[in-house]
Every structure is written in structure tokens, then in C-alpha cells.
């Protein structure tokens, strides 16, 4: 069992609150990813769960037991550090055996457990080498091996892949997902990389300045962000925000005015929001060249050709951020030449002035389960 509950957890350094009243339930066997920009408190939260930081307020409960004042070992957790934290003077075997040696396990038990961990992590051939001779990915696997020999209830990962190069990171993501399936243990994973979050998580916890901005499945966060922060944090490049004014609300949705165009956005509006300024969110990947339901003309200042896609950035009047659009494949787009682009109203997100989203009418279950049985 590895069920974790955070109740109103607070962490303050002097006057500054870094983690502000975070409450969260993590189910046994779940893969939960904490994600957020730097300084949002995600690592601090993880270190409190680990027992490396004192919890200023609130309760951390593992399997029904309050563990605030228990050392990490008694909490039944293990942690993998961003910097690997391997013992440089010990062989891979001794590194993995370290927690067992602390427990004074017998030599046979140690050998058996280390070898089975090494087999899972494909380190069988490396057991006698020192960490200095290993590549980054292998070192990270040793660090994971050290965590799994103790058979903890909960695994904590603190940005474990951020020191690896892009190709290796992709491999290790798949490895970690496989490991999670194989071990079936609860895993809590901190990262600032949304690709890692989207690909590995059962649920993502988006943190912003010490608060939980939203908790949900990866696709839920992408399609139904509850606020502008999550909308702009999840998805790359970031969602474009256009100022609009509400003109009418009906059961069909909310009608807004964008530069003189009347657009009907299919979201759940509230009565009495007519005339209020709103933010219209549209993701760069939902934009096409040419005319459509909603049209704007932009002048791209920079065009990035990636081969598989073409990304353009166009400054908008009165706005700090560039308007960004992503086209599939290689497109001929000339910099500094006005370009007519459009998007569909059903792809739009709508936020009020405080940044809270109006719920989109999207059936998420249709995306998570195959609509047609595969056996057919």
C-alpha cells in the first residue's frame, strides 16, 4: 500500500510562504507528477513528503498514519535525486546495496536483491564499476536501483531526467513508465518539463506560486484547463491570449466580439457577463492559414522551420507576448509579410478577467477510451 494524503500542508521560510495550504490525495499505485515553473514550491513539497524538510503546517499522511515527525525510512519512501547523489567511492553494487547494508541485511539477501534490481534496470554488466565510469543514464539507473532495493511504498523523483540529453531523456521516460507498471508502486515525480508530465503521469498536479492550480489527467489539463495559468503552462508553444468582449450568453455558448467579429464559443457561460472583458485562448496548433470561423491577420516577425512543423511568431498591438502559430509540415511563410489565419471556435478557451476558465463542452471520455472496440 502506498496511499498519500496531504492536508493543508504549509511550508514557510521565515516570513515567506513557499507552499500554501496544499491538499492532495494520491491513490495507491498512482503515478503523480508535480509540475510548475521554477520557484513554484514543487521541490519543497516533495522534500517535505520525503522528510528532508520540516513541515511548517498541515499533515502528511501515508496509509492512514501521520508521518510529519517520522524519518524517511519509517515513512516507507525512497527518493531519486536530480544530481543522482551516488557514492563515488563505491561500486555500483555497493551503491545499490547501501540501504540494505544500513539495515544490516545478510549477505545473501543483499546479493539477491541487488541482482534482481540490477536485472530490472539492465545494470547486470556494470555492478563492479564505479559511478565515475558510467554514462548519465546509467548513473540515474543506479540511483533508481538504490531506491527500489528497499521496496518502498512510495517513490519520490526530484527532476531525475533534467541532467540528461534529450534523446536519453526520451529513453528514460519510457524506462520509468515501464518500471512503474512493473513495480506497481506509488510514484511522485517532480519536473518542470511538461512533456515528462504529459507522457508519464496518471495525474498531473500543476503548482503555481505555492498553490495547486489544477489537478487532473494529462488530457484533461490540455483540453479543460481550469484557469489561464494552467492553459498557458500546459502545451508548447504556449496558448495565445486575445482580449475580447462578451456580447451575449445563451445555452449554445458565449458570444464574444473579437476585432468586430462575432464568435460563438461553446462554453458554459454565466448570466450577467455581457459587456465584460474576457480573454480568448487559442492554442498555436489549432490555427490554419486562410479564412475560417474566426479570422485575424498577423505579420510574423520570426518563422522557425523545424521540418515537421513551421512555427511563426507575430507581435500584436498592445500585447507583450507574440502571437504564435504552428503549422504542420514545411510551409512557405515569409517573415514581415501580412498573413491571414483562422481558427475554429470549438477550439477556443474562454477566461474571465481573473483568469478563471468557463468550462468547455468537450467529452473527455471519448478521447481516453477507444470509441470502436478493437476486436471488431
Amino acid at each position: 500500500m502506498g496511499q498519500l494524503t496531504l492536508k493543508n500542508v504549509v511550508k514557510s521560510f521565515g516570513q515567506i510562504e513557499v507552499v500554501k495550504h496544499v491538499s492532495l490525495e494520491v491513490q495507491d499505485g498512482e503515478f503523480v507528477v508535480f509540475v510548475g515553473p521554477s520557484g513554484c514550491g514543487k521541490s519543497t513539497l516533495l522534500r517535505m513528503v520525503a522528510g528532508l524538510e520540516h513541515t511548517s503546517g498541515g499533515d502528511i499522511v501515508i496509509d492512514g498514519q501521520r508521518v510529519n515527525d517520522l524519518p524517511p525510512v519509517k515513512r516507507g519512501i525512497a527518493m531519486v535525486f536530480q544530481s543522482y547523489a551516488l557514492y563515488p567511492h563505491m561500486s555500483v553494487y555497493e551503491n545499490i546495496a547501501f540501504p540494505l547494508r544500513v539495515e544490516r541485511a545478510s549477505e545473501e539477501v543483499i546479493r539477491e536483491k541487488v541482482e534482481s534490481a540490477a536485472a530490472i534496470l539492465h545494470l547486470d554488466q556494470r555492478l563492479q564499476q564505479k559511478p565515475g565510469m558510467l554514462s548519465g543514464g546509467q548513473r540515474q539507473r543506479v540511483a533508481i536501483g538504490r531506491a527500489i532495493v528497499r521496496e518502498p511504498k512510495i517513490f519520490l523523483f526530484d527532476e531525475p531526467l533534467s541532467n540528461l540529453d534529450a534523446a536519453l531523456r526520451a529513453d528514460m521516460r519510457i524506462e520509468l513508465t515501464r518500471l512503474h507498471k512493473q513495480l506497481g508502486a506509488t510514484m511522485i515525480y517532480v519536473t518542470h518539463d511538461q512533456v515528462e508530465a504529459m507522457t508519464m503521469a496518471d495525474r498531473i498536479v500543476v503548482l503555481n506560486a505555492g498553490y495547486i492550480a489544477q489537478v487532473g489527467a494529462p488530457l484533461e489539463l490540455y483540453h479543460k484547463p481550469q484557469n489561464a495559468f494552467v492553459a498557458r503552462f500546459i502545451g508548447n508553444p504556449r496558448m495565445n491570449m486575445l482580449p475580447v468582449t462578451c456580447t451575449a450568453v445563451s445555452t449554445a455558448g458565449v458570444e464574444v466580439d473579437l476585432n468586430g467579429q462575432r464568435l460563438l464559443i461553446p462554453v458554459d457561460g454565466l448570466a450577467g457577463m455581457e459587456g465584460k472583458p474576457l480573454m480568448l485562448g487559442i492554442r498555436p496548433e489549432h490555427i490554419q492559414i486562410g479564412r475560417g470561423e474566426a479570422n485575424i491577420t498577423v505579420t510574423p516577425a520570426v518563422v522557425e522551420q523545424l521540418g515537421q512543423q513551421t512555427i511563426g511568431y507575430a507581435p500584436l498591438p498592445d500585447q507583450e507576448d507574440n502571437f504564435c502559430f504552428v503549422m504542420p509540415g514545411t510551409q512557405v511563410i515569409v517573415e514581415e509579410r501580412p498573413l491571414e489565419i483562422s481558427f475554429r471556435t470549438e477550439d477556443c478557451h474562454l477566461f474571465n478577467a481573473e483568469g478563471e476558465a468557463y468550462e468547455r463542452r468537450i467529452d473527455l471520455s471519448a478521447m481516453t477510451e477507444p470509441p470502436v472496440p478493437l476486436s471488431a
Binding site: 520525503a50 522528510g51 528532508l52 524519518p71 524517511p72 525510512v73 519512501i77 525512497a78 527518493m79 535525486f81 536530480q82 544530481s83 543522482y84 547523489a85 551516488l86 557514492y87 563515488p88 567511492h89 547501501f98 540501504p99 547494508r101 544500513v102 539495515e103 564505479k130 559511478p131 565515475g132 565510469m133 558510467l134 548519465g136 548513473r139 538504490r146 528497499r150 541532467n163
Partner: protein, 290 residues
């Protein structure tokens, strides 16, 4: 450095011929200045005594021999004992210093505690005093403790004056050991002492060896003043005091004195040479990604 091959050296390592000559001239001048007393000392040890007082003075020994290196043992029969004493005092001092300094430096490197800055500052202040300033109070202290004319009279003050700088030296080294290693060991259930013994000590070994060398040299070179003041027993005399035995009533046997100095230094050089081989650089490589 490839001296004259230019093609395969990187641009940053290339020098013109006159730059290389200049560099070596500089090195030569510096080394000559530094080593000339030793060279002269060695030459003196090879000369017969009569030649030392000849006029005009010749630097180069005529019919020089190593005779002084054999005669010195006869002139001063206790000389082997003095070398042993020097060694004994330095080694015991070094052991005491290491025993106290290694845990202390770790504590100063890893933990925050009240008064830490003050204590570290006091250590610095203490090491600014030379032992000579404190000779009289130390003498009274030694007399009260009944330690005069024992080995301890030379070992204890020697070790005491070496501890502050050793703590500073080793603390700096230990601060470079990543904190994540402590945290990882803590996550794995290791106690502070277990972590210290199994993780920190092995990684800090090169730093400890450096401190051992520095302390040994320090103990070796500073024992003269303590031995002169706190000890009057011939059998406990260390080498620098023992050298006085070559000062006769009528004349000083310079050539044997020089020979004895070199013979006395030799074992220390051998020890340092062996310790130096343990200075394995880059032992922390692979611990954490930096």
C-alpha cells in the same frame, strides 16, 4: 608543453622562442634564489673542514667526499635517536590533530550551530599568534601539569597550534562534498555517524591526506622552539636541537652539521612522497552531476 613543435599545439599554448627562454630564465632565477642555501649546504657537506675556512673561499669542493656522512654518526652518537624523536613527535602530533580535526571540520562544514562564526573566527585569530609569543604562559602551564621534560611537552603545544589551520583547510574541502550525498544516505536510513564513516570519510580522503602532510611538515618545523624551551633531556631532543651537538667548544663541525641536516630531512621527504601518492584527484567524479 611541447617546446619547439608548433604544429600540433593549440594556439593558446603556443609561445615564441624568446617567450620560452624568458619563462625558463624566470623559473631558474626563482628556483636558484630558493634553493641556493640548500645547494651551498650540500656542497659544504662534501668539503673537508679545512677547506671551509680557506681564503679565497671556493664554492666548488676540491677533492670532495661523502666522508662527513659517515663521520657524523661517530661525532654525535645519539643522532639516530634525535631523528627518531623528531619523527615520533611529528607523527604523534599529526595523529592527534587528525583525530580531532576530521570530525570538527565535518561539523563546521555541514552543520549550522550557534556561535559557529565566532569559533571559526577565534581559530583564525589563534593561528595568527606564533607559538613564540605564548612561550612563557605555556611554560607555566606545562610546569603545572608536570609535563616539562617529556615528549608531551613538545607534542601538545605543537598539535594545538596546528589544529586551527587544519580545521580551516579541511572544512573548505568538506564543504565541496555535495549535500545530496548526506540527504541520500539519510533517505536510505543511515545515521549521521554511519554517513560520516561510510560516505564522507572515504570521499574526504584526499583532503585528509593534504591536511596530514601540512600538519606533519608544520609539526616537524615548529618543534624546535618547544623543544628548546620545554625540554632539557638529551634523550628526548628532536633533530633541530640535536644538531647543536655539532657545535663543539672550540669549533663548529660545519660539514658534518650540514650532512646531518640532510640526513635528518630525508625520512620526512620519503614520508611526504608516499603520502602524496594518495592524493587521488577527482575522487568525487560521478557523485553528482555538476
Amino acid at each position: 608543453m611541447a617546446l619547439f613543435r608548433k604544429d600540433d599545439t593549440a594556439m593558446i599554448d603556443r609561445y615564441r622562442w624568446w617567450e620560452i627562454v624568458g619563462i625558463y630564465l624566470g623559473i631558474f632565477a626563482f628556483l636558484f634564489f630558493l634553493l641556493s642555501p640548500f645547494i651551498e649546504g650540500f656542497l659544504v657537506s662534501l668539503k673537508p673542514l679545512s677547506q671551509l675556512f680557506s681564503s679565497p673561499y671556493t664554492f666548488w669542493p676540491e677533492n670532495g667526499s661523502f666522508a662527513a656522512y659517515f663521520d657524523m654518526w661517530k661525532t654525535v652518537p645519539g643522532f639516530a635517536r634525535y631523528i627518531f624523536n623528531s619523527f615520533f613527535i611529528s607523527i604523534i602530533s599529526t595523529c592527534i590533530v587528525l583525530l580531532l580535526v576530521v570530525p570538527a571540520a565535518y561539523a563546521f562544514a555541514r552543520f549550522r550551530f550557534a556561535g559557529m562564526g565566532l569559533v571559526l573566527g577565534a581559530f583564525l585569530a589563534v593561528s595568527m599568534f606564533s607559538g613564540a609569543v605564548l612561550l612563557i604562559p605555556l611554560f607555566r602551564l606545562m610546569r603545572t601539569l608536570g609535563l616539562l621534560n617529556t615528549y608531551w611537552a613538545m607534542i601538545i603545544p605543537g598539535a594545538a597550534f596546528l589544529i586551527p589551520s587544519a580545521i580551516w583547510l579541511l572544512r573548505t574541502y568538506m564543504m565541496r562534498i555535495p549535500t545530496e550525498l548526506n540527504e541520500a544516505a539519510y533517505m536510505d536510513g543511515a545515521s549521521q555517524f554511519y554517513t560520516f564513516r561510510r560516505v564522507i570519510l572515504p570521499i574526504a580522503r584526499p583532503g585528509i591526506v593534504v591536511v596530514a602532510i601540512v600538519t606533519f611538515i608544520g609539526a616537524y618545523s615548529q618543534q624546535f622552539i618547544f623543544a628548546l624551551t620545554f625540554n632539557s633531556k638529551t634523550e628526548y631532543m628532536p633533530l633541530p636541537i640535536g644538531l647543536y651537538a655539532f657545535f663543539g667548544k672550540q669549533e663548529v663541525i660545519w660539514n658534518e652539521l650540514m650532512a646531518a641536516s640532510f640526513v635528518g630531512i630525508l625520512p620526512a621527504l620519503v614520508i611526504i612522497f608516499f603520502l602524496q601518492r594518495h592524493l587521488v584527484g577527482g575522487l568525487t567524479a560521478g557523485a553528482v552531476k555538476q
